[in-house]
C-alpha cells in the first residue's frame, strides 16, 4: 500500500526521557512534515524537509530535533520529555510544488507521565 507510515502508534513515557518517532513515505514525495495536534485538536506545523533539507522550522523547543536520512524518511527525536509534550504527532508528505494536498500518517499519540 502506498502511504505515510509512522511508528509507534502509541508512546507512553516518563518525564525526562528521550524518545523518537519514525516516519516513512513510499509515495515518492519530495517534502515531509511534522505536525503536533493538541488536546483541542489544533494542528500546528513543527518542521518540514524537502529532499533531506530543512525548509520550515517553526518556534519549537530545541528539545525537538528532526532528522531526514533520505527523502522518504523523516524522524522526530524528543529530548527531556515534558508533560506539555503530550499530544498526537502527525507526519505528512506532499509533492515539492504547491497546489497538491498532503498525505498524513495515522499519528503517534505521545503521553508523558
Amino acid at each position: 500500500d502506498t502511504a505515510v507510515s509512522q511508528t509507534p502508534k502509541y508512546l507512553v513515557t516518563q518525564m525526562g526521557n528521550d524518545k523518537s518517532i519514525k516516519c516513512e513515505q513510499n509515495l515518492g514525495h519530495d517534502t515531509m512534515y511534522w505536525y503536533k495536534q493538541d488536546s483541542k485538536k489544533f494542528l500546528k506545523i513543527m518542521f518540514s524537509y524537502n529532499n533531506k533539507e530543512l525548509i520550515i522550522n517553526e518556534t519549537v523547543p530545541n528539545r525537538f530535533s528532526p532528522k531526514s536520512p533520505d527523502k522518504a524518511h523523516l524522524n522526530l527525536h524528543i529530548n527531556s520529555l515534558e508533560l506539555g509534550d503530550s499530544a498526537v504527532y502527525f507526519c505528512a508528505s506532499s509533492r515539492q510544488q504547491g497546489n497538491y494536498g498532503y498525505t498524513f500518517g495515522s499519528g503517534t499519540r505521545l503521553t508523558v507521565v
Binding site: V4, T31, Y33, Y35, K40, K41, F42, L43, K44, I45, S48, N50, I55, I56, F90, A92, S94, Q96, Q97, G98, N99, Y100, G101, Y102, T103, F104, G105, S106, G107
Partner: protein, 111 residues
Amino acid sequence: SQQGEEDPQALSIQEGENATMNCSYKTSINNLQWYRQNSGRGLVHLILIRSNEREKHSGRLRVTLDTSKKSSSLLITASRAADTASYFCATEEGSWGKLQFGAGTQVVVTP
C-alpha cells in the same frame, strides 16, 4: 499562529441533510484545502481550491472561495452517518507549501 478560523465549531444533522461549514483566514494564500479527520485517525485530504478559483466540486462536496472576503465554505450534500468526523480547512502560503490549519468543525450525522 492559527491562520484559519472555522464556524461552526460543532454541527449536528440528520442523514440526508446538507452540512455547511465556513472558514475564514487572514493572509494571502496559494490555495485552500479541506481535510477530514475521523476520531483517532489521521487527516484525509478532501479537496483543494486554488486562489484563482471560486468554486469546486468533488462528489457530494462543494467548496467555494472568496479571496476578497478571505473566506471559504464546504458543503456536504445528502450527508451520511459515515460523514461523521472533524473537518479542517487549511491554507497554503509561501513557496514551500506551508499549510496552516483552522480549529476544525466537528460534524455528527445521526441516522
